[in-house]
Symmetry: C2
């Protein structure tokens, strides 16, 4: 399922290959977020060819509400519905229930919430989120968890971890007693929680490791805590999560966060930052971070990024993209999203190369400096 192909000598970084029903995924890997069955503003063809996304993410919460499981079922799953033939991962919907849905309520049974679209009432349980993800048919499914808010006190975090573990057992049981619907294997990843408390993170990592799933995830980070706390938690957790299985750091982060996490043994990432911030005019480039709305770019006809992670990075100028974003033109969102995703994916695959070449540490330190520049 997962093979570590190379280990860095100076850090905990490793490269690997994750096999899924829809193809091999070289790791470390960055997964573009395709919330409602679309990576916002990007044609599937461009996602595969220009951006070369090896795997994308879907949000169970959004897909469950729209188009809904009935449509997804009659389509034969999300791969067919959106015509995407490469691997796919779905989260459990838990995170969105807490961040988007009004009037949500947690019980041991599950999460009761109202749709942010029409106010209708729904329940997510550890069991039905597996069932829904069986219908969606992603190659990798996630268990329902509670992502504790930051900051939260130890007492809250402890109860939250206990609930997450209770749900974990039930989700794994449901996973084991059900079969995929679409003739391809689906994996299930459990999620480590515990806020920024070392003891809880250790307990949670032990619990997660003990489930023997094909891969493991770390949730509840990049929710407001300082980066150093995040890095410390990753180190603590990765001491415990098995070496021979992929480790997925959920919802993280900036390019620097990615490199630091790779150096601490993380293999998989997803984040809305390249697309969401891109739509708002923030560009990640080989020369540093650019706020394209800044007046300084108004007459700069040089390419978006001369290192050219995507064709659009060379085709379009800073002045033109600025004009589009300032004017609220859709094309601005498209160009910025394609560029940023390509930048992220190239960065992570460069990290992979450096790990295999044995000079990850030196390269990472240089890149972290460069990527911290604001132009």
């Amino acid at each position: 399922m997962f093979t570590v192909t190379s280990r860095d000598k100076e850090t905990r970084a490793r490269s690997g290959m994750l096999n899924t029903a829809h193809g091999e995924i070289p790791t470390p890997v960055f997964m573009p977020v395709g919330t409602a069955g679309t990576v916002k503003g990007i044609l599937q063809r461009d996602l595969a060819e220009d951006i070369d996304a090896r795997i994308i993410l879907g949000n169970t919460y959004h897909l469950y509400l729209r188009p809904g499981t009935e449509i997804l079922k009659s389509a034969g799953g999300l791969h067919r519905f959106m015509n995407w033939s490469r691997p796919m991962l779905t989260d459990s919907g838990g995170y969105q229930v807490f961040s988007l849905a009004p009037n949500r309520k947690l019980t041991d049974e599950g999460a009761i919430f109202k749709s942010h679209i029409d106010g209708s009432r729904h329940v997510f349980t550890p069991e039905n989120t597996i069932d829904i993800q069986r219908i969606i048919g992603a190659d990798i499914m996630m268990v329902l968890d509670e992502c504790a808010p930051f900051p939260c006190d130890h007492r809250y975090a402890e109860k939250s971890v206990a609930l997450t573990h209770l749900w974990l057992e039930r989700a794994v049981a449901r996973f084991r007693e059900t079969d995929p619907l679409w003739n391809h294997e689906q994996l299930l990843f459990p999620i480590v929680q515990g806020s920024t408390f070392d003891d809880l993170r250790k307990i949670s990592a032990e619990k997660v490791a003990s489930m023997g799933m094909a891969g493991n995830a770390i949730g509840g980070l990049s929710v407001g805590e300082p980066a150093d706390e995040m890095y410390r938690i990753i180190e603590i957790v990765n001491e415990i999560l098995p070496e021979n299985k992929p480790r997925y750091l959920m919802g993280v982060g900036t390019p620097v966060n990615l490199l630091e996490a790779i150096g601490r043994g993380i293999d998989m990432f997803d984040c809305v930052m390249p697309t969401r911030n891109g739509r708002n005019g923030m560009l990640f480039t080989s020369e540093g971070v650019i706020n394209i709305k800044n007046k300084r770019w108004a007459g700069d006809f040089s390419p978006l990024d001369p290192s050219g992670p995507a064709p659009v990075s060379l085709y379009y100028s800073k002045a033109y993209l600025r004009h589009l974003i300032i004017s609220g033109e859709i094309l601005g969102s498209q160009i910025a999203s394609i560029h940023n995703l390509s930048f992220y994916i190239r960065l992570v695959s460069e990290a992979r190369e450096k790990i295999e070449e044995g000079n990850f540490k030196k390269w990472k330190d240089q890149m972290v400096k460069k990527l911290s520049e604001r132009l």
Copy 2:
């Protein structure tokens, strides 16, 4: 400049070739509208390769306000600014002043208006709209005219035509005394006005024809009048506009309008309908018009249009596009726009083929029937 390559025997339709500084344009031709230096939601690459737009339109009003002539000048014109190497046409901005700008006021001198963006005060004159279009650098420029509202009385229309003709003379004079800025030839097309009054349209067509420009346009149609009135006016005007020059029907229209106008001797079209209506979920297909928001498409996994004018028409299903449009996803606008523009452009180039094959009339009658279907 323009050669009629074939004439239909049963109708006034003709095929031709229009030579511009940025390439040959086979006519009849449909020109996608690229308002502010972007055809909304479409990458330049896809516009050229998937849609095969031979020429696109820019709006002087929008470009003048944003990014403004200073930026366009330092970019070396709009072709370079937006990196589009095929032909381009710009309108004079008059139409937008009347439809978008608040507090506009007409004088013999020109049109005084306030920006719809920031309320700043501006003046368009026959002369400065030529100067602005010299900076933009489109292959084809348009004269400033007044597009009379519909309905309007004969007295208003008569005065409006007189003003339009006064402006026409001044625009042509400015055109003759200025040179292109970007080392390529620019043509200027005058515009026939006169509302739905036959006598005024005749007078205006005579005036326009007498200017001896490289091509001529008909404005002020498709502004609310019945289609039959529009067709009648086109017939009257095209009796007068010279045979050996291209005739451009501005801002028209539905696929059926296009075919009927081609049958009456029109060579060039532009319209926001394929993009604007597309963004709103209206699809023009080989099987008829589709409102993709309709519940009936929710579970229809067949391709958008099996006749496949664009790759997206076959790649994406009706159910998927419906989901995207209903969910307000940008990708929905992109797919619908690419499909609709490809549909329009293929329809018009099919008309060209039929004219050259000598069976336009029969094909047109069949198509008009098919295209009037609402699915």
